[in-house]
Symmetry: C2
Subunit: 462 residues, 2 copies
């Protein structure tokens, strides 16, 4: 395997550069969900265009109604029919939240050693700048070692994944010719454990919804009217507390109507995985309520859920204030399984809230669209090649896993392009994604890059 060996050597030789460049990218505050992130988004897109060009791809920044997509393709070659591979990643990041909750500044990453692990902290360090960097650096190494790419290549880097990808469906539709491919590698997923690679074959759907309860009055003095006038925080608390019953089931009429039960063979396989208790070590599940009758993995991967992501109402401090607020707001997300339709789930929730709304009060909902769950085929030769490549690098079998997360793109690529999708990634539960002190480590970066060249090799040797 001279191709492979020389490419792996190129990765190892170039690794200091790979790390330094990734830290440059993490330092760019490309927050898609806040208006202040605009300049960071633009800088990150330009930075990536330059890097993809330096790898030998023809890269361009394509504007959308929202944030731009960076699209790169390998040059037309005279090669006789070789497969066309698409790589997807996203360069935007979540907002930081309260910066005071970070011990490490979110946009000043540097490698530090902690208990023998070489870590770097930063928003996007794990989700998802390290991910896209693994395949870019793998393509660079292969090209360096061999003078050509391992196949026809198209790279699509999105800038608004963390904001629900509002412009992506239109982009995919408009660029379906450029995006045509035999397989799409979606690099935005987790490993199973620090030592066990995984391919995600089952993804949940996602619906975001914001609900605001208004009292008939604006803010009042709670000393005077607390005993008698409507309090939107109290009403909202009642509504939120009523969403789940004591068994952890969702109490919204019709919520489970279209839900497919988890197939038995899948339950058996997941229960087997669950014996590996190390998987949950990074997260303490005590105090949580798992739906009765289901294991933790089954609930996370195979059962629909409702989460409250935020709540705000009345006095936010710092001092005390005797206010009976005029309104209170909650932000929720619904994670769907196969069979559930986003619009129907949203409508069911709105009907539930209205049924609980005291007379005289009003409600405002904000939210639209959403994505359905996706269950991917496990028979694809590309998936088999990827599983073999991962297994070789990590010296451990590749787990076929589910996730509670959503990648709406997978549904779009399957449906619009008819492409095979293989969802791979090298992040871990302990990376604190979407949280303060998000982190990654250089060992996974190195093995992630190496994994891709092994996958390229396996694709060439079916």
């Amino acid at each position: 395997m001279p191709n492979l060996d020389s490419a792996l050597r190129a990765i190892d030789d170039n690794f200091d550069f790979s790390v330094r460049k990734l830290l440059e990218l993490v330092a760019i505050p490309s927050i898609s969900g806040e208006a202040s992130g605009g300049p960071g988004i633009a800088r990150a897109a330009e930075w990536l265009q330059a890097e993809l060009s330096s790898v030998g791809l023809s890269a361009e920044i394509i504007e959308t109604k929202g944030h731009p997509v960076v699209l790169a393709q390998s040059p037309q070659t005279s090669h006789f029919k070789r497969p066309r591979l698409l790589f997807y990643g996203h360069y935007d990041v979540q907002p930081t939240g309260d910066v005071n909750q970070w011990k490490h500044p979110p946009f000043e990453p540097r490698v530090i050693e902690e208990n023998g692990v070489h870590r770097f902290y930063g928003r996007g360090a794990s989700d998802s700048k390290s991910q896209l960097w693994t395949f870019i650096e793998a393509l660079r190494a292969w090209k360096t070692a061999k003078g050509d790419f391992p196949a026809d290549i198209v790279v699509m880097l999105e800038g608004e994944e963390e904001s629900g990808s509002p412009s992506l469906p239109e982009f995919i539709d408009a660029h379906r010719n450029d995006l045509r491919c035999d397989v799409a590698f979606i690099c935005d997923a987790e490993m199973w454990s620090p030592t066990q690679p995984a391919i995600t074959t089952q993804l949940k759907g996602l619906v975001h919804e914001r609900v605001t309860i208004f009292a008939p009055n604006p803010d009042l003095h709670s000393g005077h009217y607390g005993a008698v006038a409507a309090n939107p925080i109290r009403i909202l608390s009642d509504i939120l507390a009523g969403i789940h019953d004591e068994a952890g089931r969702v109490n919204i009429d019709g919520f489970y109507d279209d839900v497919s039960e988890i197939p038995n063979r899948l339950r058996l396989r997941w229960r087997e995985l669950e014996r590996d208790t190390a998987h949950f070590e990074e997260v303490n599940l005590s105090g949580g309520v798992t739906e009765e009758g289901y294991s933790a993995l089954e609930a996370m991967w195979g059962r629909p859920t409702v989460d409250i992501n935020g709540i705000t109402g009345g006095n936010q401090g710092p001092g005390e204030r005797s206010v009976l607020p005029g309104s209170a707001t909650a932000r929720l997300s619904f994670r769907l399984v196969r069979g559930q339709e986003p619009d129907k789930v949203r409508a069911g929730f709105r009907a539930y809230v209205k049924s609980k709304l005291p007379k005289g009060c009003t409600v405002e909902f904000v939210g639209a669209g959403g994505s359905s769950a996706v269950v991917l085929s496990q028979d694809s030769p590309f998936l088999a090649a990827a599983a073999r490549g991962l297994e070789q690098e990590w010296e451990s079998p590749t787990i076929l896993r589910g996730t509670g997360g959503a990648i709406p793109l997978v549904q779009q690529l399957s449906e619009v392009l008819g492409a095979e999708c293989v969802v791979i990634g090298f992040i871990l539960p302990g990376d604190a994604i979407h949280a303060p002190d998000e982190r990654y480590d250089t060992r996974r970066l190195l093995k992630g890059i190496r994994s891709w060249v092994r996958i390229f090799e396996e694709i060439g040797n079916p």
Copy 2:
């Protein structure tokens, strides 16, 4: 009544000045509950010292551990034993909250005509700068007309009432000689209606408490862990929703143990008052839950209550964020009736929260102290004089009322100084105190000032 007539004339003649000066005072952002209010507090204290001096009182600014008290006294006179009257007001104001919710800027008051009413808007316009200004202008007018004050006078203006008066007990204790008096007029209360004056003889106690629920983990990705890990917003919602039962009673063990029932003669009198439905016209009570078995007034004035004043947790926007937050916070206040002790009520609430806390989660409480309810004597000759004076000015009987509000000072003055307290004021439910677009009108200002000179006259003619 030459004294009275000349003093009333002085008020009317000087009224443009009175309004202009009050607007100056309202324009000073003397917010006690936020650190940024410090300069405003200092300016307001100096402004008041200057005004009280110009009236002929010897006024000084006395520092405390918190915000200063402005204390003013009439000169020693050779008068043969005349009563000594104390006037209390507070010059600090509530925070503005979100300024975007104000139609009128909170610190740029000017008089505008709306449907024949001459209004001005501003934080503190009603609560409580207009209130203290009524007795200051009444003292000025009497002094102008008669060359002397109607009695020995002491004026105490506090700068941290809206922050729970943390320094006041120590101040009263340290200045008990200056503050000694035959009667303390507390000018920080409501009329019964725009045409009916009132004296408040029953006040509630007040306890503020902040509670934060912590999950065992910091922020997590809700897609991954929403189905299984603890969500502090959900736990907090359950706890808040469980505070009241469906009959509007408080579900906290022991909450009603020491509560005195409302005496029957009081219930009869309040029910009589409640026939005057105009009282509630400014506030829409639909959607509110009044404790079963009690009328609205009984619940407001005579029953203990729990209010949620604020809630915060997880994503505060603007974008959506799939976060399972590490913590969530609520701010509550408890309004107590005679018999309840602040410490015991606080302890009962904390025990209730702990009893509902899932294992693995932790809770943090912030709060201390509080005030008890006060029921004032209705037999005082000063109260009788005040009731007569009010009745003459407003040409309507003076209502003896309760309130859901708390004035902890009343308890301290009664207990430490042994002073008779008479609680009077000229604000109304429609003034939007503690809320955006707080307002007042010049008619009430005029009649408020005139009320005091009539009260002075009645005190002189028992």
